[in-house]
């Protein structure tokens, strides 16, 4: 059996682990576009902060690839897939034959069309190690940095560089920070917290036009900058799947088993659009845990096992200048705002299930208990709801459930 995996990040690593749990012999080849060992992308902001280094960013050791007999081709791009011949053609002319193929092509920064943007020489994105290092090497004490995007990527970038430069300004069309993951009140807390640390926000505004060192906002405000970081969002890398005639929408369409519209081609991670468990529709969930779980599921099925990932939900754990945020699921149904010392907690209940939570600060403590309630669709009338709202405790579950959790292997 020949397994080929396009993409050398979390999804393909999980896929390797799952394949090898079943098939010790088949050949595994991973094709990675970046000339780095597999590293965890969310760590790039921690790298700039000095909280990790390139060695520690490596997701799996060299020994892992030896033990699992994996060939990794680094710094080479997969150009096309011939599904008839079952081959992947690389840009260097090499052709690889596969029995089972994984597409884990990831996502790319979305660059909005802005007049004058191409004239900005010091322009960066913030998704890859190379870009993070390029940004770092351009930072000066006197730099004025403008970040376009107050989402997860933009704010992590801001956190990473604020102590190294003169100023960091953040512009976003949305009226509040982290619009896609927080509600109004939590957004406000985060913005206030970040402003106290020196970040400047221009929200509900956007860059109308750029000159090499100035941004003219829609509102008429002019912001001078030395470096510009574009962090407005990511888009799944679907080109190779699209050209191969696979079903795609925003992402490469997959089912619960990680299968694409071709039985021998699987996909996992940021490039995919798969079933989300709460709305039951396919969505793009470009998040690390999701990439791992999708890659693992695909790997099991590629090797002839049976796996179904039917618990995909959005989940974010994010720390910003000492403030911890945890969000899970969807914000629909009835909302329960729970008073909280040193934090903020809002839970969302629909059809006797917890479907979402927004937790800031101390409210995030033991929050995996909420996540599990969401993922496992725990019937809320089976537990002490008032208690679980107050604090995520196993105490709130029925005694028989606790016995299972603590009295036997799980």
């Amino acid at each position: 059996m020949h397994y080929v995996m396009i993409g050398n990040s979390i999804a393909s690593t999980a896929c390797i682990e799952a394949v090898r749990a079943i098939d010790a012999e088949g050949s595994i080849t991973v094709i990675g576009e970046e000339d780095h060992p597999c590293y965890s992308r969310p760590l790039i902001s921690y790298l700039l902060q000095g909280k990790t280094d390139e060695n520690r960013m490596v997701y799996r050791s060299e020994a892992f690839y030896e033990e699992n007999k994996v060939t990794v081709m680094r710094g080479v791009r997969a150009q096309s897939i011939d599904r008839e011949e079952k081959t992947v053609c690389l840009e260097n002319g090499i052709s690889l034959w596969y029995d089972k193929l994984l597409l884990a092509t990831g996502s790319s920064p979305f660059i909005p069309p802005i007049k004058g943007l191409e004239e900005v020489k010091n322009r960066f994105t913030f998704l890859t190690l190379d870009e993070a290092k390029r940004l770092e090497s351009n930072l000066r004490k006197e730099s004025r940095v403008l970040i376009l995007g107050a989402g997860l990527v933009g704010l992590k970038c801001a956190e990473a560089i604020i102590d190294k430069v003169q100023s960091v300004s953040v512009v976003d069309l949305a009226p509040r920070v982290l619009m896609s993951v927080l509600d109004d009140a939590a957004s406000e807390q985060v913005r206030t917290h970040l402003q106290k640390q020196g970040l400047r926000f221009f929200l509900g505004d956007s860059i109308a036009e750029c000159t090499p060192n100035e941004a003219l906002l829609q509102s008429g405000t002019v912001i001078g900058f030395d470096l510009l970081v574009i962090a407005v969002g990511v888009k799944p890398n679907i080109q190779i799947a699209l050209e191969a005639g696979l079903d795609v929408n925003r992402g490469i369409l997959i089912d619960e088993g990680g299968r694409t519209s071709d039985a021998d081609v699987f996909a996992a991670g940021d490039c995919t659009e798969g079933p989300e468990m709460i709305i039951g529709r396919k969505t793009v969930l470009a998040l690390l845990p999701n990439a791992y779980l999708q890659g693992e599921t695909a790997g099991t099925n590629m090797a002839g096992g049976t796996a179904s990932f039917d618990k995909a939900v959005a989940m974010n754990a994010l720390s910003l200048m000492g403030l911890h945020l945890i969000t899970v699921g969807r914000y629909e149904g009835t909302s329960h705002l729970v008073p909280c010392k040193d934090g903020y907690k809002r839970l969302f209940v629909k059809d006797n299930h917890l479907v979402g939570c927004i937790l800031v600060g101390e409210a995030g403590k033991r929050s995996g208990i909420y996540t599990a309630m969401i993922r496992n669709k725990v019937e809320l009338d089976s537990l002490n709801f008032d208690l679980i709202c107050e604090e995520p405790l196993l105490m709130a579950f029925a005694k028989s459930v606790r016995q299972q959790q603590l009295g036997g292997p799980v």
């Binding site: 999980a14 965890s40 969310p42 760590l43 921690y46 909280k51 990790t52 520690r56 960013m57 490596v58 997701y59 799996r60 690390l288 845990p289 791992y292 779980l293 693992e296 989940m315 974010n316 754990a317 994010l318 720390s319 911890h324 945890i326 899970v328 995030g364 403590k365 033991r366 929050s367 995996g368 208990i369 996540t371 599990a372 496992n376 208690l387 995520p392 405790l393 196993l394 105490m395 005694k399 606790r402 959790q405 603590l406 009295g407 036997g408 292997p409 799980v410």
Partner: protein, 142 residues
């Protein structure tokens, strides 16, 4: 493999397991020096309400979502024992978000900590068991 199991029937709510855990992982030889006047940071937590109490620590489960969610690749399974390499941890709280038992918490050093069944300290066997006066916590194969 041998794991820690808890029987809430026998738990007295004395919290001694927490003290033994904190001592075992303090790296300090003298128990008094390790614990006296200190805000202890145990890797086992006693939940207590009314007459019910029980200890919770890592279940070393077969579907370790902490490993799969860790952005730093810091959490691994060593023959079934889930351990954390604190030198790699960046304190992002992804594991807290993921663990269905609420069994990971920040350590004093600004990294996460979790029960490693006392395999990574000098105890030999889980200290919480030794500290439990009523055998509400046991370490065995089930």
């Amino acid at each position: 493999m041998k794991r820690i199991y808890v029987n809430e029937m026998w738990c007295l709510g004395c919290h001694l397991c927490e003290y033994y855990c904190a001592y075992a992982n303090s790296g300090i030889q003298d128990m008094v020096k390790a614990l006296k006047d200190k805000q202890i940071q145990a890797r086992i937590t006693v939940e207590q309400r009314g007459t019910i109490s029980f200890a919770v620590n890592c279940r070393h489960c077969t579907e370790p979502l902490c490993i799969k969610s860790c952005i730093a690749g810091a959490i691994t399974s060593k023959d079934g024992v889930i351990v954390i390499d604190q030198s790699r941890c960046v304190l992002c709280y992804s594991c807290i978000m993921a663990c269905p038992y609420g069994a990971l918490m920040p350590a004093r050093e600004g990294v996460m900590q979790k029960c490693e069944l006392c395999t990574t300290n000098s105890q030999g066997q889980p200290a919480c068991i030794q500290g439990c006066p009523n055998k509400a916590i046991v370490f065995e194969e089930r």
